[in-house]
Amino acid sequence: MSHPEHKDNVGAKLGMWLFLFTELLLFGGLFILYSVYLARYPHEFAAAGRELDVTYGAANTVVLLTSSLFAAMAVTSVKRGEARATMALLSGTLACAGVFLVIKYVEWSAKINHGIYPGSAKLIAGAPGESVFFGLYYITTGLHGIHVVIGAAVLAWIGAKVKSGAVHAGDNITLENGTLYWHLVDLVWIFIFPLYYLIL
């Protein structure tokens, strides 16, 4: 069954934006819970928030913003027909994704070593508001971490397409959509960081 390929870049982008809305709403469910529980337990949230290490959070914010910069530059360079530069920039994004995950791993490990994880004796003994805070913290950053992995996998796959010549100056909507997804991953973090690390 062969349908004639009619490329509709505007349509492809529209579809991608719609998909990004669904991702925002997915995290939106968690942000709703955050706002409701923050209103209910402002003091516990403040106390728990202070236990998070702003240094890790800030470092990861810088890392992700840099990765997004590389991704945006990759789009420009593929449009100029520079395949090697595109691949190098995408590798930069992937490297940043790796660094992000390593920092996240270190941060989570430290928390878990301190006895702060869902269902831990320390949280069960502590104030209910703190338990909810860390429950939300783990599920939100965990879900975000999964999105980092998915986004990195997508960009790696697109990088391979750049290498094979399937994505090039004349046909780069796949790369553009892939980087849109990466920016979403970045954007979600831009909301997570202040909500959990800064404002409490």
Partner: protein
């Protein structure tokens, strides 16, 4: 009729043109018509599974005490009946099957915007369905929470809730992708001359539905993720012992699941808007209002989820706001009903099978819709909340509404795709039995609910025995009609009389192309010159 014409299924058009053979030409095809039929067979299969479960439920409730199964099995039966009917039949039902079959043709396109994504949607549906079904036989046994998966019970029960919930999560993915595909298709692939004011109303309803699928489904996805996290990690977000709040689960669940009933009913309303003008030989009355009311239902319907929770412990202010908004949604629904009835007025009505089912929709949906207002009003809802009245109401709108619209669509459109038609007389007999049986089953339930019989109870007081018996007998009449209808459709579509040209006299684009449609739908890109219900403009007498 010669045997050559009558013996074998039609093999022209899209039935023939394929590079693949056998099952691969179906499960790997990106043709929207083949995917539509894949969905049709799948949802119909699960519908029949759900029907059997429903009949077993009615059988158990035929008399007080144990009739057929034990209490735990009964809990599993109503849970699985709900999960199968909601997530496997009625949500993908009309949009994914008839939407896929008809919508691209109605807008003059060769296919949807993302054909491969469309196939992926079906695969995700199939995988999700398999996961849901495997939850019945593995782990701690079939889920017993009811299809709503309410915490705290769903977080604690030993049955296999996690796997079932994960299956529903995958199904949600499938639904989202179909929604994205349809919105993009309707924006990008309309043929020349197919302005927004000329879109068939079925397409308008699918457009509104697709937006709800896109905007609401992610919320249930994250909610289900949290239920799984609750069960596996003990994350405590809905656990009052750890500072969580079970009411938040109900909010998040209904933020999706109420709009989801519009995913179920809007495409059905679209089907009715197609059939009524064709069989009344009159342009639809109030095209614009019907189109806009679809969007209005989708928008307002997203703000009324709290009416499921009047007795859950929300603030009284919230109850009143949600009650008010619920009444607002009734307006666009009523607009549609009045416009359909106005279309019928002074029309030249022909009562063939699709029209009978469509008219039944109007009646049953109106009964269901009005009983919905009794539930939407907080004061009366307190009395009938969680009774059989709710069960009756829900089945009136979902089965009497969407179910009958699904049957209407099957009788209206399937001959177009199979090139053969069913026999009219058995279709009428099937319809009559279903209509009578349906009302006996569900109207009785509404009366039982008013008398105070709770829903989801295994046993009941002796004073409810008589009406329960009546309801169960009704379910047999309903099932008999259903069997006649399905067998008649099945035999007719495979071996019936040829169905050629435009016998219904429809003016939308699908009736302008050969039967069955060719693989590419249109030999050359169509230019649309008339409105979808402008029968004179289309040259139909």
């Amino acid at each position: 009729m010669s045997s050559a014409e009558k013996g074998a299924p039609v093999t022209d058009g899209f039935w023939q043109d394929t590079g693949r053979t056998g099952i691969k030409s179906w499960i790997l095809s990106t043709d929207h018509k083949r995917i539509g039929l894949l969905y049709l067979y799948s949802v119909l299969g699960f519908f029949l599974v759900g029907v059997i479960l429903g009949l077993l439920l009615r059988l158990e409730l035929m008399a007080p005490g144990r009739t057929l199964v034990d209490a735990q099995t009964y809990n599993a039966l109503f849970t699985v009946h709900g999960v199968v009917m909601i997530f496997l039949f009625i949500i993908p039902g009309i949009p994914a099957s008839f939407g896929n079959l008809v919508m691209p043709i109605q807008i003059g396109a060769r296919d949807v915007s993302f054909p491969r994504l469309n196939l992926l949607s079906w695969w995700l549906y199939a995988i999700g369905a398999l996961i849901v079904l495997s939850a019945l036989f593995t782990g701690g046994g079939a889920p017993d929470t009811g299809w709503t998966f309410y915490v705290p019970f769903s977080a604690r029960t030993g049955t296999n809730v996690s796997l079932a919930v994960f299956g529903v999560f995958i199904l949600g993915f499938s639904s989202i992708l179909t929604g994205i595909n349809f919105v993009t298709t309707i924006h990008r692939l309309r043929a020349e001359g197919m302005g927004w004011g000329r879109l068939p109303l079925f397409v308008w309803s699918l457009y509104a539905t697709a937006w709800v699928q896109i905007l609401a489904t992610p919320i249930i996805a994250i909610t289900l993720v949290m239920v799984i996290a609750e069960r596996t990690l003990g994350i405590g977000l809905f656990d009052p012992g750890r500072g969580g709040d079970p009411i938040m689960f109900q909010h998040l669940f209904w933020i999706y699941s109420h709009p989801a009933v519009y995913i179920m009913i809007l495409p059905a309303m679209g089907v009715i808007s197609e059939i009524i003008p064709v069989f009344s030989r009159k342009p639809i009355f109030g095209y614009k209002m019907i189109a806009v009311s679809s969007v209005a239902i989708a928008a307002a319907g997203s703000l009324v989820w709290g009416h499921h929770m009047y007795t859950s412990g929300m603030s009284d202010t919230a109850v009143m706001v949600f009650s008010f908004l619920t009444f607002i949604v009734a307006i666009p629904s009523a607009i549609k009903v009045f416009n359909w009835v106005s279309t019928l007025y002074k029309g030249s009505i022909s009562l063939e099978a699709p029209m009978l089912f469509a008219l039944t929709f109007i009646l049953l949906f109106s009964i269901g819709g009005l009983s919905g207002l009794i539930l939407g009003a907080a004061a009366t809802d307190i009395h009938v909340h969680d009774t059989h009245f709710v069960v009756g109401h829900f089945h009136y709108v979902m089965f009497g509404g969407t179910g009958f619209a699904f049957f209407a669509a099957a009788h209206y459109w399937l001959p177009k795709f199979y090139g053969r038609r069913y026999r009219e007389k058995p279709a009428l007999i099937g319809w009559a039995l279903m209509f009578v049986g349906f009302n006996i089953v569900y109207f009785t339930m509404q009366v039982l609910g008013m008398q105070g019989m709770p829903r989801r109870y295994y046993d009941y007081l002796p004073e409810f025995a008589q009406l329960n018996l009546v309801s169960t007998v009704g379910s047999w009449i309903l099932a008999a009609g259903l069997i006649i209808m399905v067998v008649n459709l099945w035999r007719g579509l495979l071996r019936g009389e040829p169905f050629l040209g435009n016998p219904w006299g429809g003016a939308t684009l699908e009736w302008s192309i050969p039967t069955p449609p060719p693989t590419e739908n249109f030999e050359e890109e169509p230019v649309v010159t008339h409105a979808p219900y402008d029968f004179k403009g289309a040259g139909i007498p």
